[in-house]
């Protein structure tokens, strides 16, 4: 089946290289695909293995931007403990609109936050990232994608193969390895190509990428803006999916099965035939502004490393889940899975339907349920 843009995710018991993610995505290329490359990786190994509890900032910026951020972080009391600068392979003729600097910097919390609660620390990280974003945006000096322990984000405009060459992602040097990668090879936007508009999006441990579109974008955006100061940007309508996921799981603290009921609720007729109709009616009444519409598929990653996927209420964008028990992958098309997991048992592949949610737990257990 033909899809519009492709998304993918790999979760493994063992550390693997981002080149696997590229191998998952590149066979699926078609049409306008491959105008960019973006990935969020979580549960890092390699050079970041010893800094798992310390926040890692992912930046793409100019020299001036780097100085601005450094000064700002110093005044806020963050202590830089490790910096990884990718050794760029500047081959002429690569299709990439690279920024001058890519900085992946691990910080230690400020002294006065050492004994703070987990929530306070997390709020500090988000506030810091928003402040750094505002700082860089003012003079257009760069982009900050994530600032979170054990999470690294890379987003770039260009051909994914060339981007991978530029960052030496094909080399498998062992520097950058992880157990979870969410990836996308297209700047999914009808508007300007901006780096912030590239999936996956990340907020406070929640990562999400989506293909297709959300025709309730304006309605979602206007409601979400009032919910949380971290719900900003809205460069892509897929940010709506992430913010709703974050809101349902982190702010409201509801079980994950209600996420699907919020974004694509059952019809009123179906709700009336269910034992939990009172709850479902209430959710539809209260969170009507978070309903989404239009064709799309979502891949999400939760703070504990679980991955989940679901699609719109008509299954207009397909998705497939497969794996060998050690490594599981979610992908828009089966050809991507065949490339990275050729010897898996294909009879066990899951093609979820429009009411289904599939989740891969950190123990590699696959859970699936109907909304």
């Amino acid at each position: 089946m033909r899809t519009v843009c492709r998304i993918g995710a790999i979760k493994s018991k063992h550390y693997f290289h981002p080149s696997q993610a590229l191998k998952l995505m590149i066979p699926q290329q078609e049409g306008h695909d491959n105008s960019g490359f973006a990935m969020v990786i979580q549960d890092l190994g390699g050079v970041f293995a010893e800094y798992k509890d310390k926040p890692l900032m992912s930046l793409a910026c100019t020299q001036k931007g780097a100085n601005l951020v450094e000064n700002y972080m110093e005044t806020r009391g963050f202590i830089a403990v490790y910096e990884w600068v990718p050794n760029m392979n500047k081959v002429p003729g690569l299709d990439i609109q690279a920024m001058p600097h890519y900085i992946f910097k691990v910080y230690d919390y400020p002294e006065y936050y050492k004994k703070a609660s987990k929530e306070a620390k997390e709020d500090l990280l988000t506030e810091t990232r928003l402040a750094v974003r505002a700082l860089l945006e003012k003079d257009e000096q760069g982009y900050v994608y994530s600032f979170w322990p054990d999470v690294l984000t890379l987003k770039e405009i260009g051909d994914p193969r060339d981007i991978a060459t530029y960052f030496r992602l094909w080399d498998d040097s062992g520097d950058m390895i992880a157990k979870n990668i969410v990836v996308q090879c297209r700047q999914n936007t009808n508007y300007d190509i901006v780096r912030y508009a590239a999936h996956p999006f990340f907020l406070q441990g929640y990562t999400l990428c989506a293909n297709g579109e959300n025709t309730f974008y304006t309605k979602n955006k206007e409601y979400q803006r009032s919910l949380n100061k971290g719900y900003i940007g809205f460069e892509s309508d897929s940010q709506n999916f992430l913010y709703t996921l974050h809101y349902v799981l982190r702010t409201l603290k509801w079980p994950i099965k209600y996420y699907k009921h919020v974004i694509t609720p059952l019809s009123f007729q179906e709700i009336d035939n269910r034992p939990d109709k009172a709850v479902l009616h209430l959710i539809r009444q209260t969170l009507g502004h978070l309903e989404i519409n239009g064709p799309n598929t979502i891949i999400g990653m939760l703070p504990d490393g679980s991955m989940m996927t679901c699609c719109d209420s008509k299954k207009l964008r397909p998705v497939i889940i497969g794996g060998d028990g050690e490594t599981m992958a979610i992908s828009s098309e089966v050809c991507g899975l065949n490339t990275i997991l050729p010897h898996r048992n294909r009879e066990l592949d899951i093609y979820p339907n429009e009411r289904e949610v599939v989740m891969i737990t950190p123990e590699m257990e696959v859970q699936r349920w109907k909304q």
């Binding site: 409201l252 009123f268 709850v279 209260t286």
Partner: protein, 190 residues
């Protein structure tokens, strides 16, 4: 001559009209000063009068300009009939009169501009269709807008809708279901 449009506001459109007797008015200006709505103003008006001053009728035509008190033709400065002008006038030269045939309610609800029906004047107006926000270009162009691909399962909530954090849910059991603690609000979809 001044241009007059058909739909221009006149004093006859306003809920109160000012009755003014120039022969009693001494032009002291108290009424204009007292009117907090600036519903009246002092203006010059032309008069053409026939005068005869001699013992025998010797009518002559005289053209003069005289100062008068006049009601403003404006919805924003409409007289509300408070009667301050009448109270303050030493000569009973002015008073407001209720205008039964006014069109104030009709005209004022469109922000002061008269409701226009048809004609070319509507082309430049602010129209409802101009105010519709289109979230994405694809909302207008994408074939995915086909009705079949979208759900139109919408009901309007009637009554108070609780905020998400106010929902009386508690998470229970191994299945982690949301359970309703108690239901205490009137709420129905229509």
């Amino acid at each position: 001559m001044e241009t007059v449009k058909i739909q221009d506001i006149t004093c006859n459109d306003l809920p109160w009209k000012i009755e003014y007797r120039p022969e009693r008015c001494t032009m002291c200006g108290s009424c204009v000063a007292a009117c907090t709505f600036q519903a009246i103003e002092a203006v010059m008006e032309r008069r053409s009068v026939t005068v005869s001053t001699g013992h025998q009728p010797e009518p002559t035509q005289r053209h003069t300009a005289i100062p008068v008190i006049k009601q403003r033709k404006s919805l924003a400065n409409a007289c509300v009939g408070c009667g301050m002008c009448e109270k303050i006038c030493p000569n009973q030269a002015i008073n407001p009169v209720r205008n039964q045939d006014n069109r104030f309610n009709l005209l004022a609800r469109n922000g002061g501009s008269p409701i226009k029906r048809g004609g070319r004047t509507n082309v430049m107006a602010d129209r409802v269709l101009d105010k519709i926000v289109v979230g994405r270009i694809s909302q207008m162009t994408d074939p995915s807008l086909d009705a079949e691909r979208h759900s139109f399962d919408i009901l309007a909530p009637f009554g108070r809708v609780l905020l998400p954090q106010e929902l009386p849910f508690s998470i229970k059991g191994r299945a982690a279901d949301c359970c309703i603690l108690k239901r205490k609000w009137p709420k129905r979809h229509i």
